[in-house]
């Protein structure tokens, strides 16, 4: 979304990249007329990488960061979206164009133990790319054969990455993890690329070796003017090596910006939680308690509607009609989420209660049932109308009508976050969160109803009915509004 910081053209520009994997998609399934279900590994990612910089892509496992890296190099075919490398559309390339692209963009894989062919010597591994691309094109002038030239080049590269040239005839198993990763880097450098995707290059290594490799990567970048896309889950490594960072969650970029901005003033609640969770290696860390994000990352088979992060978000926005403490709202949302998406049943609560009370003589008492749920979901402190609604829903649930209970809660507590997907807003430092979309296109919520954690919802389009004085507040922000919306539509058009 961001305009170029330095006013340059990006070397790599990714727009609305999507990669879905399909299940139940075989001939047999089609004969049985089963609908294919999709796993949305990458779900609309926008990135720019400028020449000479390192863009970090961080996220937890399963967020689609590696798939993004491989798809934008066309090692996997994208489902949708465009990737432009130096102005050319990578997805449209074929034949010699693609070969030329492969020479200019390389990759270093995560696992140095499985990404090197155990039956080739490291010399062959490093030189393989040269051979495939027919290098050298002409016989060297000093009378060496092409083969000798390639061998000398491989030796040179091994020396450059900190191995010794006389190790050229050894096999990968003779090297340690760090040394293998150096071989992988030498292989990526062989074709003299401009752009390298580094897919977790240090996560399999010990800290002392990791630091060696990070220093090597920095040196190489300076020496050869390389541009990196650095994929990692370790935030301290990202902080150390990257110029800009994109944070991913469930197949989407939730926040992007210059490294210092992201680490010092994160906007998105997910980024904040990630930073908060990392244990620091210093004495001050002792006994520090973090408030971890609750639960697990939802399955990409069935990502939550609206903002993907809303099921774990500590700052989820309450609807205008509700004003309760955030913990209790979170509790209500958790209960709803479990009912709607995770197949939570009243029966399982009864089972748990039964085993707690040890045996068959346990009588099913609705009061006990409701009490245990109130405790589990932190609902005890509610009062007034919200309490009545929740009590009602619990009563319905105790009678085994899960869908109805969920419906009841949905009516009263539906959050703006689940109705509309947020878009990346902001210039250089952008976040896709309704809390920030707020500033751009404000939808009026009575300030008294709105806690500090609340805001409007992003983007135009279908939205729940709100009071009549919407227009009042829209006007002053009209210009900002246009910027935000434009950005959104632009990327849509690009995608088509």
């Amino acid at each position: 979304m961001s305009e170029s910081a330095a006013g340059e053209e990006p070397l790599l520009e990714v727009r609305d990249l999507r990669k879905y994997y399909f299940e139940n998609d075989s001939l047999f399934d089609r004969l049985l007329r089963r609908e294919p279900t999709s796993v949305k590994a990458v779900d609309g990612v926008d990135l720019e990488v400028y020449p000479g910089e390192t863009l970090g892509v961080v996220g937890e496992s399963g967020c689609g960061k590696s798939t993004t890296g491989e798809t934008l190099l066309r090692l996997r075919e994208a489902t949708d979206g465009t990737v432009r490398f130096d102005g050319e559309d990578v997805m449209e390339m074929s034949g010699s164009e693609l070969t030329r692209f492969r020479k200019r963009a390389g990759i270093v894989f995560q696992d140095p133990f499985s990404s090197l062919d155990p039956r080739m010597t490291v010399g062959d591994i490093v030189g393989e790319g040269l051979k495939i691309h027919g290098m050298p094109e002409e016989s060297p002038e000093d009378g060496r054969s092409k083969r000798e030239w390639r061998r000398d080049r491989a030796m040179e590269l091994l020396e450059r990455v900190g191995l010794s040239a006389d190790q050229i005839d050894r096999y990968p198993h003779e090297f340690s993890g760090g040394q293998r990763q150096r071989v992988g880097i030498a292989r990526a450098l062989a074709l003299d690329p401009e752009f390298i995707v580094l897919d977790e290059p240090v996560s399999a290594l010990d800290v002392s070796v990791q630091a060696q490799i990070l220093n090597l990567l920095e040196d190489l970048q300076e020496e050869f003017g390389l541009t990196y896309l650095f994929i990692a889950h370790d935030l301290s490594v990202v902080r150390h090596i990257c110029d800009r960072v994109a944070v991913m969650y469930l197949g989407e970029v939730v926040e992007t910006g210059p490294t210092d901005d992201i680490f010092e003033s994160p906007k998105h609640p997910y980024t904040e939680a990630l930073l908060e969770s990392v244990p620091r290696a210093s004495v001050d860390e002792q006994g520090r308690r973090v408030d971890p994000l609750p639960g697990d990352v939802p399955s990409p088979r069935n990502p939550p509607s609206g903002c993907h992060f809303r099921t774990r978000c500590p700052e989820v926005i309450q609807p205008a009609t509700v004003d309760i403490p955030q913990e209790q709202y979170r509790g209500v949302m958790n209960l709803r989420d479990r009912l709607e998406r995770q197949g939570f049943t009243a029966e399982s609560v009864w089972d748990t209660l039964e085993s707690e009370h040890g045996g068959d003589d346990f009588e099913r008492d609705t009061v006990v049932f409701k009490e245990s749920l109130r405790e589990e979901f932190d609902l005890a402190g509610l009062s007034g109308a919200t309490m009545d609604t929740v009590e009602d829903a619990l009563e319905i649930l105790a009678n085994g009508r899960e869908d109805e209970a969920a419906e009841r809660l949905r009516e009263a507590f539906a959050s703006p976050c689940e109705e509309e997907e947020p878009v990346l807003t902001g210039d250089e430092h952008a976040a896709s969160c309704h809390l920030f979309a707020d500033e751009e296109y404000d939808r009026d919520l009575d300030p008294e109803d709105v806690g500090s954690a609340m805001g409007g919802m992003g983007g135009p389009g279908p939205s729940p009915p709100v009071d009549g004085d919407v227009v009042d507040d829209l006007d002053p922000d009209g210009s900002d509004d246009a910027v935000g919306t434009d950005a959104g539509t632009d990327s849509d058009t690009d995608a088509r």
Partner: protein, 420 residues
Amino acid sequence: MSERTAATERAGTSTEDGAPEGHPDDVLRVRNLSTRFFTEEGQINAVESVDFTVRDGEVFGIVGESGSGKSVAALSLIDLVDSPGRITSGEVWYRDADLADEFRDDVPEAVDGDLVDTRRLPEGVRRALRGPAFSMVFQDPMSSLNPSITVGEQIAEAVEVQRRARANPRRTRSRTQGYGMGRLIADTLLPNRGYTSEASMNRAIELLEQVGIPDPAERAHEYPHQFSGGMLQRAMIAQALAGEPDVLVADEPTTALDVTIQAQILNLLRDLQEEQDTSVVMITHDLGVIARMCNRVGVMYAGQIVERGTLSDVFDSPVHPYTEGLIGSIPDLDDPAPRLRPIEGNVPSLLDEEMGGRCFFADRCPKAMSDCLQPIPEYDAEPGSDEHAVRCVLARREHSEADALPSDHFDRNEEVRGDE
């Protein structure tokens, strides 16, 4: 003279009488523990004369890189080392007054006050201690649980073993121990010969709830593949808690997990440790996890604890160049330092014939001196608390250029060996 042990002998067969001196709160005192693996390639000294103590209700951290012997040290502690590995020497003194009374007459050399040297107790007794005294949380929850048995049943099994052990101490048999053709046939023909009972299953559900698994009654009947990584790790912790252990050994409990899930598990471990006053031995390569969780720390390198002390001894005033290097290698999240200061070279192989009688870190050490070419005992280190001890000559003397080893000292040795 502040040499604490006679660990200088490499064979490490010192047998002193009585328990080593220590703090009155020590629940565990380990002295001179050595574990070797006898492989085709030669003898591997995975753990080399390790000493440490664990106090009641504290978290003791062991930090080191892969191959430093920290996991084997943990396995040795609870006597789970498998062939071709063997614990070749050492004492593991464990505080248990009842156990001490029981063996005071039979095995007097294994008892000192309330402390009992578990290494000198009979095999069956050591086995019975696993569960109520020591238990372990393993690194990879995906491969540590049996994929063909429901999670609840696996935990119930651990509960059942403890229940039977309480009824009849020294006779703890797991489901698979002594499982032969006869029992296989009997189990196949008689479907109700289940190992677990309803009571132990209920206890398992209670444990699952205690470690924060939602819908425990339902989840108990699911198989490990239906759990996420974080949930499985919680289940593993529930299993380890089944015997209400005094010492919980957690071997890289969060390494396979994402940071947000790691934060959940670390909070859980801390809560359980505080509630139940358990002592925890926390093994990890992550200095951040050590910093958050531990009171005292031991740094392992090449099978030895090279430096130990309180958290601030090790983090703020490290003496051993390896500890310094380790701390200098990690990028700081709050301050992007311009350049990392890594330790050059790689972790040594631990093969006996390649180790030699010297400081094992000397070949990578930026401050190696001629004094480093002999075995180094553990010295008291000056800065920091009384606990601070280090296996490095720098604790006794300053580094001086005059004694420094030439930078190619070890390369030359290697060539000489290669020529032979």
